[in-house]
Symmetry: C2
Subunit: 171 residues, 2 copies
Amino acid sequence: MGAATHSRTHDHGHSHACRADPGTMVSRAETLCRARGVQFTALRREVLEAVAASERPPGAYDLAERLSRPGRRVAPVSVYRALDFLMELGLVHRIASRNAFVPCAHEHGAGENVVFLICRTCGGVDETTSPEVETSLGQTLARAGFTPAHSILEVEGDCGTCRRERAAGEA
Amino acid sequence: MGAATHSRTHDHGHSHACRADPGTMVSRAETLCRARGVQFTALRREVLEAVAASERPPGAYDLAERLSRPGRRVAPVSVYRALDFLMELGLVHRIASRNAFVPCAHEHGAGENVVFLICRTCGGVDETTSPEVETSLGQTLARAGFTPAHSILEVEGDCGTCRRERAAGEA
DNA sequence: GCGAGGTTGTTACAGTGTATCACCCCGCGA
DNA sequence: TCGCGGGGTGATACACTGTAACAACCTCGC
């Protein structure tokens, strides 16, 4: 995907590895938590790493299962709490149309909107920002007399890689 | 809300009545079904009427409850089937961020995107279209090399009426 | 009449998310 | 040192959302 998209799925030749480097995410989290005086606990770190490490956006129950081991069970409710925390910090986003979670690839400015590009073939999700959309949406809302607090924009379709692969397959 | 917004919540002085005239919706449905040679059954009509008549977007279970009477129980699964049917026809939309359903106020062209304006105060949902957003989103997607199939855009905030009411209340 | 296809009823179940309470850990002040 | 308080986690239970599978029905056309 293009350079402007802060690609998280990189150039995957379908050898998906990770969508965001877990180490980098953890560093950002630590910095943020220190700044805000909140705790970055082991569970929160593990949940963040798991989200960052998965190729496709996991659900809360996926994460719970992935973090559980013979000696230690992580209940979904704990995962939800950690996810809420991470979303509060802007390190994770929720994909409403999938009930799934993605690591946030950006250092957002506050209130900045993002566009999620959800590939229906490979299941990957890319995240991008768009000033044009931002301004045109602002105009539309103003015309409607609506004061936005928060918005979600999710597009389902085919990412460039999958489209090319399909075209090659059909040839 | 503005004239361009195909307002469904009209000028509610919080005496909400209906978001779309059920009779009109039913007429459109009948026409559409005849044209496509599919059945517009009693259940489908009742579900459509119930969605059209409620001030705030109902969930599937709300509808099931509302349509059930002492002598006749409508199971959620039946409601889901009717809703799927109505969505197929473009008569109803699903609000992903709320797990709720709204009647579609437009006669859409196919593939036309809509913007949902969800008021967090009164819970009403308005629906509008925006050519500007459409084109700017198209540009963004093209730049990302992404082929869209379908997109959702939901904005949560305060509608004009509620904002004015709040301002008046604070004064 | 009778078969075929579509619609609905019914039950069961999977998936998603929240409420509640108990416990633990750690820091802080008496 | 003890007790206290607050945030975090564990555990259970539950509510809400959505789907699978199958039986019964209804209608339409032959």
